[in-house]
């Protein structure tokens, strides 16, 4: 295996595992604010306990997010030194801002939220929850800003020593690519959070215990979930897709499996891309739909891969195609399931509709898959570029770190993360089994 491939896998593996946690952190942070707000407004002890229960789950999840997040910043230097040397002045800026503006805020108020409930007033405790939410969402923003610049570099200048710098701070932060991606990504995190909350509610109802809490979880999960599941498609996904189509034609052509430029291009729902023959095998196509989705008219021409030099095609074309289709397919399922669940909730039939509860329970892993597939779409679509149009991935990895050294630490991470995954599953299983009642109101300790 080549060093380039190892360094790519190293980053891809560690970031994919990492992002399983922050997506729930960011989604739950919002939902905990909802729970705390209702508790504060109504003075309901039950909603407070519900918030405390999710606070504990949040805390476990947060720890895994923190410890798997630290390697990410380091890996820019350790595994991607040549990239960092040239682009550090740009990329390092939002990463440092994440530390300075978000992590200090988030960690300070999370400490207060988890450990200080008895040292501060109810209002202050609510405020801590809000600040944890703000911190985690600001953190997401800076990461998206970083990625957006790699996808769509703006306002840059090349210095005499070969390094790049950004000439406009605001253009870096307000990169249109970043704003669209942020909206889409954060909605994705809320989808994960609301599916998880609804699934735990469904689980309790199906088990026939903790019904009061189950109803709270289902209500909040489904109401927030239906909003997020619609927003993820329209407008955030739609706008983001159109922007990608205009700025990364190779990416959109590969995502959609469009080998030949066409006026009135069809939308491939299913089928296998065949790189050798340059066509989709066994396709199911909706005629003219792709042109319509991108340009708003069925007649518009969409650029296919045939108009793009072969050395600028995304390097893992079928993987990109499948990742994108999985994301889009699951997104459709989320909207369907949540709309049906919301109707049942409105008609007061959700709590007894066992088939819907089973569907909600079994669907909780799917947003994780969809979020992961979405990120794979974004990052594989950018290939073969590390910085779109400016630096190829093959020019960015650390060439002083040999393939076998990279493989050694990659295997180390895989082993360690396997352990972390098991530990996380066991702990969350225990939290959910114990349920909100186990956390006594007067003492937040349990042993």
């Amino acid at each position: 295996m080549t060093a380039e491939l190892i360094h790519r896998l190293h980053f891809a593996f560690t970031i994919t595992f990492h992002y399983l946690f922050p997506q729930l952190t960011m989604g739950l942070a919002l939902l905990i604010v909802v729970l705390k707000s209702v508790a504060l407004k109504t003075g309901s002890e039950q909603w407070d306990r519900a918030a405390r229960f999710w606070g504990r789950t949040f805390a476990i999840n947060f720890v895994f997010g923190v410890v798997t997040g630290i390697p990410m910043e380091f890996e820019f230097g350790t595994n991607w030194a040549r990239f960092s040397r040239v682009f550090g002045g740009v990329i390092g800026q939002p990463l440092a801002m994440e530390g300075v503006f978000s992590f200090f805020l988030e960690s300070a108020f999370l400490g207060l939220f988890l450990y200080g409930e008895k040292r501060i007033s109810k209002l202050m405790h609510w405020f801590s929850a809000v600040m944890v939410f703000v911190g985690s969402w600001v953190s997401g923003f800076f990461i998206i800003v970083t990625d957006a610049w790699m996808q769509h570099p703006v306002a840059f200048d090349r210095l005499p020593n070969g390094q790049f710098e950004v000439l406009s701070f605001w253009q870096l932060l307000m990169n249109p690519w970043g704003l669209l991606q942020y909206a889409h990504n954060m909605t994705g995190a809320v989808v994960t959070g609301s599916f998880v909350m609804a699934a735990v509610g469904a689980f309790y109802l199906l088990e026939g215990r903790l019904e009061n809490y189950a109803r709270i979880f289902l209500k909040v999960g489904v109401i927030v979930g239906v909003i997020a599941s619609i927003l993820i498609i329209f407008p955030t996904g739609d706008l983001h897709g159109k922007y990608v189509a205009r700025n990364q034609p190779a990416a959109i052509a590969a995502m959609e499996g469009l080998f030949h430029s066409e006026a009135g291009a069809g939308l491939v729902l299913m089928g296998q891309p065949n790189e050798e023959t340059g066509q989709i095998d066994n396709p199911i196509v909706v005629n003219d739909m792709l042109s319509f989705l991108i340009y708003g008219t069925t007649k518009a021409e969409v650029k296919g891969l045939d108009q793009i030099p072969h050395d600028q095609w995304p390097t893992a074309l079928p993987l990109l195609y499948y990742a994108y289709h999985i994301m889009a397919g699951l997104g459709t399922w989320f909207a369907l399931l949540m709309i049906v669940s919301a109707l049942l909730l409105w008609r007061k039939r959700l709590y007894t509709a066992r088939w819907a509860l089973w569907a909600l329970l079994l669907s909780f892993p799917l947003p994780y898959i969809a979020n992961t597939a979405g990120w794979m779409t974004a990052e594989l679509g950018r290939q073969p570029w590390l910085i779109y149009g400016l630096m190829r991935t093959s020019e960015g990895y650390s060439n002083t770190v040999s393939a076998s050294n990279g493989l050694f630490t990659l295997l180390g991470f895989m082993g360690l993360y396997l352990l972390l995954g098991i530990l996380f599953t066991v702990l969350i299983y225990r939290e959910i089994s114990n349920g909100p009642e186990a956390i006594a109101a007067d003492s937040v300790h349990i042993d």
């Binding site: 504990r56 805390a59 720890v63 895994f64 923190v66 410890v67 798997t68 630290i70 390697p71 910043e73 380091f74 820019f76 230097g77 350790t78 030194a81 960092s84 040397r85 040239v86 550090g88 002045g89 740009v90 990329i91 390092g92 990463l95 440092a96 801002m97 530390g99 300075v100 503006f101 992590f103 200090f104 805020l105 960690s107 300070a108 108020f109 999370l110 400490g111 207060l112 988890l114 450990y115 200080g116 008895k118 040292r119 200048d157 210095l159 390094q163 710098e165 950004v166 701070f169 650390s398 002083t400 770190v401 050294n405 630490t409 180390g412 530990l423 702990l427 939290e431 937040v444 300790h445």
Partner: protein
């Protein structure tokens, strides 16, 4: 000028990290052998529970600042120190998980395992951080292209082709282990009460004796390994205040601890750490990473500095952001001030 400012801003972040995460690393080391029962252990851990994560943020924020202010240094040092950095990452992961999750598992073997892991990873991290600093002071075998790759050890000599570990960097690791353990003991003296607090205070004295010896040895060793570190001091004799500061803060640690003034002793320990790090930075300045392969390969401030626009804008948001951050940090520390009370603190 920009280079000078950013050099010291990164130094401030490093000092902030060492002073703050230093005490919770030290508490991690100490809890292995200082506490006698589960209540004491819970008290010990509750003293750092609400703050350790925020303390570790200084490492991330400092890393980010280093990254965008000196990209060449970040790229070269991080890829060159590849193996030890990966070990540091694994230790940080194990440490974070073990301290946060021990209260989520039953008393017994699992909890004991996590506690042991927390102590061991804390101890190893202090040693790695000390050795890392010593590696930078000693220098690394930079190639003409600005990169290098260090093995974990070679012949244990700080020659032109050293390893991460040699006799000099091991001394650095030991200084950090003892200094931060002492720092943690002072923190525990402040934050706990009764017998536990007394034991924490008592252990300061032997640690202090070892630290004095190690500090002097490390200063002498640094002068032997890199005589050039004295140049700045002789060019600006006023800066001999730094070694004087090191010695006098060591003296006041002992004095205040003996008089049972733990807060003042802890602050003295903060000042000691500050002077040790500032002294090391000043010994390097304006070099960031010396080359053992010839001074013309040194990574210097002017070679590594980012573009002027980045740094000018950075000054504004960094200043603003850090003022805000210090605000929250002060707020949280004030909310948790005083001795740990297990009935109020925990989750």
């Amino acid at each position: 000028m920009m280079g000078f400012i950013w050099f010291w801003m990164v130094a401030v972040m490093i000092v902030g990290y060492v002073v703050l995460d230093g005490f919770d690393l030290g508490v991690g080391v100490l809890h292995l052998f200082l506490v006698r029962n589960e209540t004491e252990r819970r008290t010990t851990l509750a003293s750092i529970g609400p703050v350790w994560d925020g303390n570790e943020v200084w490492l991330l924020a400092g890393g980010g600042t280093l990254y965008f202010a000196f990209p060449l240094l970040y790229a070269s040092a991080f890829s060159g120190f590849y193996l030890p950095l990966m070990i540091v990452l694994w230790l940080l992961i194990l440490r974070g998980v073990s301290v946060e999750l021990r209260n989520h598992v039953e008393v017994g073997v699992w909890r004991a395992l996590l506690d042991g892991l927390f102590g061991l990873s804390s101890a190893l991290l202090t040693i790695f951080f000390g050795a890392a600093l010593a590696n930078v002071l000693r220098g690394v075998p930079l190639q003409a292209d600005g990169y290098f790759f260090l093995p974990l050890w070679t012949n244990w000599q700080p020659g032109p082709h050293p390893g991460i570990l040699d006799w000099y960097t091991v001394i650095g690791g030991l200084v950090a282990l003892v200094a931060l353990t002492l720092h943690g003991a002072l923190w525990l003296t402040i934050k706990t009460s009764g017998d536990l607090s007394k034991r924490a205070r008592r252990i300061v004295t032997p640690l202090w004796v070892v630290l004095v010896v190690l500090t002097l040895v490390s200063l002498a060793a640094t002068i032997i390994v890199r005589p050039a570190s004295l140049n700045n001091y002789f060019n600006y004799p006023l800066t001999f205040i730094v070694p004087i500061g090191v010695v006098s803060s060591l003296a006041t640690i002992w004095l205040f601890n003996r008089k049972a003034k733990p807060v003042k002793a802890f602050l003295s320990s903060c000042i000691y750490l500050f002077f040790m790090l500032a002294g090391a930075c000043w010994g390097l300045f304006p070099t960031l990473l010396p080359a053992t392969t010839g001074a013309d390969r040194d990574i210097t401030l002017t070679r590594a500095i980012s573009g002027p626009h980045t740094l000018a804008v950075g000054l504004v948001w960094w200043g603003f952001g850090m003022v805000l951050a210090i605000g929250y940090i002060a707020f949280v520390y004030s909310k948790f001030r005083g001795k740990v009370d297990l009935h109020t603190d925990g989750h």
